[in-house]
Symmetry: C2
Subunit: 676 residues, 2 copies
Amino acid sequence: MSDKDPLVIFTPSGKRGRFTVGTPILTAARQLGVDLDSVCGGRGICSKCQVTPSYGEFPKHGVTVAETALSEWNAVEQRYDDKRGLPKGRRLGCQATVQSDIVIDVPAESQVHKQVVRKRAEVRDITLNPSTRIYYVEVQEPDMHDPSGDLERLVAALRKDWELPDLTADLSVFKTLQETLRKGEWKVTCAVNLLENRIMHIWPGFYEGSIYGLAVDLGSTTIAGHLCDLQTGEVVASSGLMNPQIRFGEDLMSRVSYSMMNPGGDAEMTASVREGMNQLFDAVAEEAGIDKTLIVDAVFVCNPVMHHLFLGIDPFELGQAPFALATSDAFSLKAKDLDLNLHPEARTYILPCIAGHVGADAAAVALSEAPNKSEDLVLVVDVGTNAEILLGNTEKVLACSSPTGPAFEGAQISSGQRAAPGAIERVEIDPVTKEPRFRVIGSELWSDDPGFLEAIAGTGVTGICGSGIIEVIAEMRLAGIVDGPGLIGSPEQTGTERCFLDGRTYAYKLWEDPETGQVISVTNPDIRAIQMAKAALYSGARLLMDKFGVDAVDRVVLAGAFGAHISPKHAMVLGMIPDAPLDKVTSAGNAAGTGARIALLNTEARAEIEDTVHKIHKIETAIEPRFQEHFVNASNIPNSVEPFPILNSVVTLPTETFNTGSEAAHQGGRRRRRRS
Amino acid sequence: MSDKDPLVIFTPSGKRGRFTVGTPILTAARQLGVDLDSVCGGRGICSKCQVTPSYGEFPKHGVTVAETALSEWNAVEQRYDDKRGLPKGRRLGCQATVQSDIVIDVPAESQVHKQVVRKRAEVRDITLNPSTRIYYVEVQEPDMHDPSGDLERLVAALRKDWELPDLTADLSVFKTLQETLRKGEWKVTCAVNLLENRIMHIWPGFYEGSIYGLAVDLGSTTIAGHLCDLQTGEVVASSGLMNPQIRFGEDLMSRVSYSMMNPGGDAEMTASVREGMNQLFDAVAEEAGIDKTLIVDAVFVCNPVMHHLFLGIDPFELGQAPFALATSDAFSLKAKDLDLNLHPEARTYILPCIAGHVGADAAAVALSEAPNKSEDLVLVVDVGTNAEILLGNTEKVLACSSPTGPAFEGAQISSGQRAAPGAIERVEIDPVTKEPRFRVIGSELWSDDPGFLEAIAGTGVTGICGSGIIEVIAEMRLAGIVDGPGLIGSPEQTGTERCFLDGRTYAYKLWEDPETGQVISVTNPDIRAIQMAKAALYSGARLLMDKFGVDAVDRVVLAGAFGAHISPKHAMVLGMIPDAPLDKVTSAGNAAGTGARIALLNTEARAEIEDTVHKIHKIETAIEPRFQEHFVNASNIPNSVEPFPILNSVVTLPTETFNTGSEAAHQGGRRRRRRS
């Protein structure tokens, strides 16, 4: 290339170089290391190498681009445009050749390592770098004068055209290899696992479809799967399923007990969850309208007990101190080794666990929320039956888990229920009239809006879900219906007839069905249960803050499917989480699932999280005396109504109590708490 | 270590160094890199580190060794001696400590990389370096203050005590890991696959047994397995089995045809051979009295069609030009992927193929006989239904295969049979009287020895096996009963009434049963069949010699179970192999099986043979016009009777023919040959 050769400038990378006239843009891009996609290797078949040439004056780049800077639109481009439509201004990089100085823009979707955009502003996009990619090649035919295996010639073609290292092939590939090569007349498309340098699949000719991966969040209660297109990074289908292990026990410890009490019980639960997994995969593939055998990779996140049961390891040791995991390492396995019916050679990856009670789901949250990359001190709380808590910044990250119990999921609550249509999810109580209004899942209307009854006619008001419970108790506290220690006042004390005697304590009536007369109320035991749960959560967070040597955090991230629905304001009123400016409390949605998706779409993130997990400092709440101390102090409901941010629930001792004869009930509640 | 510290000299390595008083010999050996075995890591449990101290004057080493040069015989040594017996003069390297200058001999059996001695002088011993070794370790108990998985602490112990890299564990290990660690009170023995850095098995405490590997020669007709102790390299049991695929066709091409004609036929044959393999493994494990799950590695050699069928690849393409293999690469697979019931995580290794007709069995022969390391030009002939032929020296190695057909195995021969008791295996014919004497398998007596009839009474004389056929025809030629072109003379021409008219040609009666009157004879069609077979073999060898540019070879190695039984003299009389000094023609026995054993016991040999195979130049006989030319010229039986070495069969044209009316028969024979 001489100084007289045309200059080719790629944007947005800014890479530039001189190329002889007639050089295809794709060739120039490859030589400069510009990230321009191609599956067919420049044969004008795949159209992945679309680029947008720019014409005119470019003083910034020091070039003037003539209209004739690229070769003329050709028949291959016309054929593709006729068949599929090429966006205006686009050219195919493998067809358009350099004629004179030119500026070429590589649109985002033409990049191999595309950015998969995440909706939330505070987190980084995912760089697409999956385990498996597809490549089209033309293979040399066999020749008796120079005998070599069909695979060896295929591998040579992949090495020559794609600079892939010397690949091997999975055993099942050999079953179709020879037939496919001949059927495709020595032109084939290969799916190559780049982590293991193995050919996983082979299609005759140019394969126009895509390949897929699954990001699976295996929870104690539900299993959620997201099917992603590995070529675009897009989620093409999502589906959820109750974890069929529920029949062996609602919570983790009851499943561990089941395994302890029943010989072979662990194997039973392993089979059960794997079977459920396969049902989920069927559902998600059906939703996307793809063949399940196109799923070549799957990433799993789960808590340690689920991790062990899914892998076929008896969780026995996780049920007793010192809570030793069989292993905390990440696993890379074949799907068939886990009895999963995907592509016969599909790979799986299970994220590492952090500790005996802090699982791969917490690792996934760490990957999604990256506290280790945060300049601010961030508290990440994944709310569930077992809460996983991370606290850290670029300096260090601490982790613990806290046994919140199932109250946040509506269990142990008199009118509690799972989040489903008919469940109260949002609540407001007028501080003057003490009258409530609420919304139920499945309707946009508030209960005092006209037409509410008609809107919910299908379901009625069936109960209160987790986020509703948090809101109603926080609102009751704000309206002065419940006091700091957690007692509901009498009608006289609160000034509303909605408070009624329920056994030895008072309850607050939220709803009475005008037709059936069914009452949905919040009882004093309900409040105790939530107090226990939120105290556990708060104590875990506070313990990490002690260990970190801080009294406040810069921001709070609420994670988990449930966390996504919690109102930060109400969570702080309740004292679930330490104080932070309200605008610094955000919801990360299902961060564990997102972490799984990141590890699926970007294999570099796997090494990254394995490394991060090794560096996370684990705190075992069970052996920390301060955890108990915090727990005892944290059961009160903070007293600061306005203005936000409220004061810390531990620092600010409650002052407002009802001076009534309910002292006995109050004591009873405390005794109950201590027994818990 | 100062100059005043005692000097420790190890023999036979000659490694030496100074160590402070009290250093265990094992520690000194490790620091100097002396190859001294240990499984328990110096804890006085395994006794693998036995050494022999020498006392007295050692002018050669410049030291005088006092009787007190080592610490006194201790209780651990006494206990082991009482229990198992320690050879006289031996000490345990982990117990005996350095007191003053000392000379220590490491006996062969105490070396990690022992030499496994091969019986034949011309080949090198095998360096023991198996895929899997066992290690004893003591593991740190779990601690809630520093949570880590049980595996991570086990791996740390293996790293610390054995300098092993960071290992992972096979999935099935996790099923027993936690229980085993606790059962062994945190002392365990691990089997570690060093090629994949994976823990394959874990035993509580110190495991006193061994682990095993299989070397399997998968032939078209028989499957032979040798069970080897991976700690000593010894063959502990051997067993053979008819290849159950025989029901789908006697020879390879009929099995390929079966797969072509029957949809799913290849899968049927794959299942059949794997099933047979499992039967063989049962038999061999039973013979050795070991649990089959102690077999952790298996190496297979086979021809290309067997290779494909065993791996589950349709051999279709091997049945037609250009005879393209699916792959010629070596395979490393889990045994369970091949439906083999060994240790659940057992590995297998299948040697690479050389070309479409030159398989992993030929590669194994190359590994065993190492023509690439021979200074002499060596011709290696593996005789079978398909003969594999290698010719080479350190400069280069050529390979081809030649379709000899099943005649050498007794098929297509009127009185032919497999090698079994009752079969004639050795023959001599008196050149004057033309009277034969022979021996049958199962008896040491010759047929003219007194008591022969009684000795063979159990079986009788049942037929002629392959080696017998070669001998009888060669002897007939030497006695002038058959002429150069291969015609048997009449009684008049030969002067013996043993020649009798059999259709349009003569036959030679070798035996008539005195009781039943059953006759075993050699017919002219028998001679034609052997002529075809030997001509194919010879032509292949000759073609390689042409390609190498030589007219003679320095030595000849006859390989294969059959090759081991061939008399070199008779093979040369027959013209099966090119001329060579008779003392330069040796038998390698089952060289393919030996190659499998080498690859099993020394994993470095795997990389070596993969490399060698890439460098072997393959000659496809089917497209070489000179092969046909040689074949046509090679069907005669050479005329040189005495002295050996005989002249080359191609160079020396036959001159002695019977001028009789048998010309028509002769022509018929030739026509028949051409049709073959």
